[in-house]
Subunit: 118 residues, 2 copies
Amino acid sequence: MMGGGRWHPESHSPLTVAMLEPALLILLKEHSSHGYNLIGDLEAIGLGTIHPSVIYRTLRDLEALEWVQSDWESGLTQGPPRRIYHLTPQGQEALESWKRELEKMQGMIAQLLERTGQ
Amino acid sequence: MMGGGRWHPESHSPLTVAMLEPALLILLKEHSSHGYNLIGDLEAIGLGTIHPSVIYRTLRDLEALEWVQSDWESGLTQGPPRRIYHLTPQGQEALESWKRELEKMQGMIAQLLERTGQ
DNA sequence: CATACTATTCTATTAATGTCAATAGTATAA
DNA sequence: TTATACTATTGACATTAATAGAATAGTATG
């Protein structure tokens, strides 16, 4: 349970955590990427600072579902080897399903905000 | 981790669970109510069938935060005594904070949907 | 008085999150 | 050449949250 300003500013709301999975799928649809880079992309989207290990774990979970696939990056990088993730056809389908879910959520939020007299 | 059609249809997505707290605050702002009745209201909003014990527990959590207050209903009902919850001034403030969070979330979802080319 | 419905609470199990430490590579500058 | 900083991923552990189910209890109806 979190909400209403209870999370400290460096942290994030429960809604942003729930958005992690679709956000990752969308980012990986745009272009394959690795975990460390996705951390920054997610922040740029407005998801706040989600702990790296949460992101890495989610990527591994998505791979177990076969929604994404990964390979170690070929060639030298500016650091240790990176695991590059890309979306699979099943991941593409899952993303479509997520999009419908997000649209439903938009409708629900809009309805709730109207009811309070925004 | 859930998403993209992984939850079965009688169930709900993780996003809907995250919406439980603000939805309860909004419903209780409209009028004081009791848990059993709120279960139906939440379903009507589109939150799906959240298990009653989750709703009752959330209400108790909100009361511990002093965002809502409850009293046993006076007078006879068509069943056992009901605990009637009402929003407190702090709850009203928390709701305002939640509204800002929901607006932020709307923007984020809109942005994500645009990026996938809805 | 048996059954169905309304209403809430408690406990146990499972799932999800958050935090921290460990590992390991490159780059740079003292 | 080694200390420090940054890049990058993994694994283990602790905490918290979600779910299911049973227990309790009252009213209503046949």
